[in-house]
């Protein structure tokens, strides 16, 4: 809605650098959507006829779990932190459910997985919030702990065997109404919750406040340790949910399944305009960032480039977008 207003405003005037700068600063999501649109056009030019509702559905389906993990990064980055344990937690939770679904059942599996994720988040939160350990180190250490325990669990469960539950396959890879990914049923409410939580609740404001100026927020009475503990618990539980979708999407239960999504999740949040130094950003941009990354990797693979070239272009693009973003938002 706001998009239309801004575009009619800028319609008659020339799109000068200053205006672009203002637009970027006020609403980073608009230029990002522009970039996404360009990428969609590029996809169509490379392979005429590929862009369709089905294609869009496939893209969105692949982007949803990444967007959830990037949400963890967005929220922790707002406070000036980062969560490097999301990959390990997501893999662990998908794996735990896959091993428990045969015996104790799906509901128990989900509960156990999310409870373990919450405990991991609680420990990270205590480390970051009370002991003031750098979030990078705290979450890195926790990811080693989670990976180790997941491996132990794996060895113990070898004899019982495991399989991704059908419900997860439906949720992660299923499609309804012809092209709409079923994972949106989970993701849309989740995204609304995150956006409302960040913009409309006191807790969301506290996240921005702590990241923007920790001392000022402490002096104005914010108990940052409580905020941080809750934050890392939320982040870990979200990562656990993303793990369900990953295992459903790929139909694989492995203790390292989502590890490769860790760095892209940070990249998606960065491209989406969330500052890694804290205090600036939002979830809207992050979602578009996750979509952009997904479309780019689809373009690169449809061009038939080898994995090597894809990685190089991927990295170059992250720097390019981040640099453009820094350039226009800084005076």
């Amino acid at each position: 809605m706001t998009d239309t207003v801004t575009t009619t405003d800028s319609g008659p005037k020339r799109l000068t650098t200053a205006r672009l700068r203002g637009l970027f600063r006020e609403r980073p999501i608009i230029p990002l959507i522009g970039l996404l649109a360009i990428l969609v056009v590029v996809s169509e030019l490379i392979r005429p006829g590929i862009v369709s509702l089905n294609w869009a559905g496939v893209m969105v389906r692949a982007a949803v779990p990444l967007a959830i993990l990037a949400g963890c990064q967005t929220m922790t980055m707002l406070t000036g932190g980062i969560d490097l344990s999301v990959g390990a937690v997501a893999s662990m939770s998908g794996f735990v459910v896959a091993t428990l679904v045969g015996g104790p059942g799906l509901a128990t599996g989900i509960l156990v997985a999310l409870a373990v994720a919450a405990i991991v988040g609680l420990i990270s939160g205590i480390g970051v919030g009370i002991f003031r350990v750098h979030p990078l180190i705290m979450t890195l250490g926790m990811s080693l702990v989670v990976l180790g325990f997941a491996n132990v669990w794996q060895i113990r469960m070898v004899q019982t065997g495991s399989g991704v539950p059908d419900q997860f396959r439906d949720l992660g890879a299923g499609i309804f109404l012809g092209f709409v990914p079923r994972s949106l049923l989970l993701f849309v409410p989740l995204a609304i919750l995150i956006i409302l939580g960040l913009n409309r609740t006191g807790y969301g404001r506290l996240l921005y406040a702590i990241g923007d100026n920790p001392i000022a927020s402490r002096l104005s009475g914010a108990r940052s340790w409580q905020v941080l503990i809750v934050l890392y618990v939320i982040s870990a539980v979200l990562a656990g949910v993303a793990g369900f979708l990953y295992s459903g999407l790929t139909n694989v239960a492995s203790v390292t399944l989502a590890d490769t999504a860790l760095l892209p999740s940070v990249a998606a949040a960065v491209i989406g305009g969330t500052s890694i130094m804290g205090g600036r950003g939002g979830y809207g941009g992050t979602m578009v960032g996750a979509l952009i990354l997904t479309v780019i990797s689809s373009i690169l693979s449809s061009l038939g480039y080898p994995e090597a070239v894809r990685q190089i272009l991927f990295g170059a693009l992250i720097i390019f977008v981040a640099a453009a973003y820094t350039r226009v938002t800084e005076p």
Partner: protein, 334 residues
């Protein structure tokens, strides 16, 4: 933000603070060495056969990670962080392995020099990008992680290549006595020869200055941008050393980056380098790497599941850092 306040606090209590922090800085490394000695004794008690051969194996196995930790330490001291260390290692390792395969021993000398120069170039590119784009270090090096790893895959699609014989003898075996592994001596000589002169020079002072307070450094005439590029160039150089030793100790080049980047960050923090920059040295992280590796060996001797060993590694990392920051918190309170 909080760091500015820290420095303000320190400047009011300068006479005691400077001395205290000096003792503490060396105290941390000395403490680590003490832990290492205790661990060696414990290892001997657990496994009476652990002797010179064990120490040699240990030295060879820690060599790449130790160089990576030094590389990371320099970036962190200058208030940066380099997430592309592992990828730069992979790139330099595959290039050296691809060039040295079935070539003369003399040609390998040229390869080593070339690869070390390449490491400097890679680091300089990282540093220049950080300075030019003004994007936070962690984001730029995260992106470069993909770029360098992609380049490594372009050079060698699958693990392969070879290593010169003299490189392998340089890193393996022992010298003078069976208890002094060649690998350890190599590591110490290279790091000391490069780092100590730098540390004593104006450049070293600038590195620590931009690490502890970039603005103050700038105002006292230090070129923050140039120093930062130099810091990343050194990080690239030591990553190249790490990549070369990876080739030398394994005999091949592997294009997929190992877990070295994150482990190097962990080792740097355990080694007493503050992630806020400006504090610590490169020898603490080296000792930390040896300790972590020896702990793993001990747990293998004790028949601890290797996965529980990973858990222990994570817990030790978190625990030590927690103790460290508790000490710091307690110091600040009165």
């Amino acid at each position: 933000m909080s760091t500015t306040v820290d420095t303000a606090d320190q400047s009011t209590a300068r006479p005691i603070g400077a001395l205290g922090s000096m003792i503490r800085r060396h105290g941390w490394t000395l403490g680590l060495v003490g832990i290492l000695l205790v661990l060696l004794v414990v290892t001997r008690l657990i496994q009476p056969t652990y002797g010179a051969a064990g120490v040699q194996g240990l030295a060879v196995s820690v060599l790449p990670l130790a160089f990576a930790a030094v590389a990371q330490a320099i970036a962190v001291i200058a208030r940066g962080i380099d997430l592309s260390v592992g990828s730069m290692m992979a790139l330099t390792s595959v290039i050296s392995a691809a060039l040295m395969e079935e070539r003369s021993e003399g040609f390998a000398v040229l390869v080593v020099i070339g690869v070390l120069l390449l490491g400097c170039v890679l680091g300089a590119v990282n540093g220049s990008l950080i300075v030019l784009t003004r994007v936070p270090d962690i984001v730029v090096t995260l992106a470069m992680l993909f770029v360098w790893a992609g380049c490594a895959l372009l050079v060698l699609g699958t693990p392969g290549g070879g290593s010169a014989e003299w490189l392998r003898t340089l890193t393996g075996g022992s010298i003078v006595s069976a208890w002094i592994p060649r690998a350890a001596l190599l590591l110490l000589v290279i790091v000391a020869a490069i780092w100590i002169p730098i540390r004593r020079s104006r450049l070293g002072l600038s590195l620590y200055a931009i690490g502890s307070d970039p603005l103050a450094a700038y105002r006292s005439g230090v070129s923050v941008t140039r120093t930062k590029i130099v810091a990343y160039t050194l990080t690239g150089l030591f990553s190249a050393f790490a990549g070369l030793t990876l080739t030398a100790t394994t005999g091949i080049g592997t294009p997929v980056p190992g877990p070295y980047t994150l482990l190097s960050v962990a080792a740097v923090v355990l080694g007493g380098v503050s992630l806020a920059g400006g504090r610590g040295g490169v020898f603490g992280p080296i000792v930390a790497v040896v300790i972590l590796s020896l702990l793993r060996t001990d747990m293998t001797f004790l028949n601890v599941n290797t996965n529980l060993a990973t858990v222990a590694q994570g817990l030790i990392l978190v625990g030590v850092v927690m103790v460290g920051s508790l000490l710091q918190l307690r110091k600040r309170e009165p």
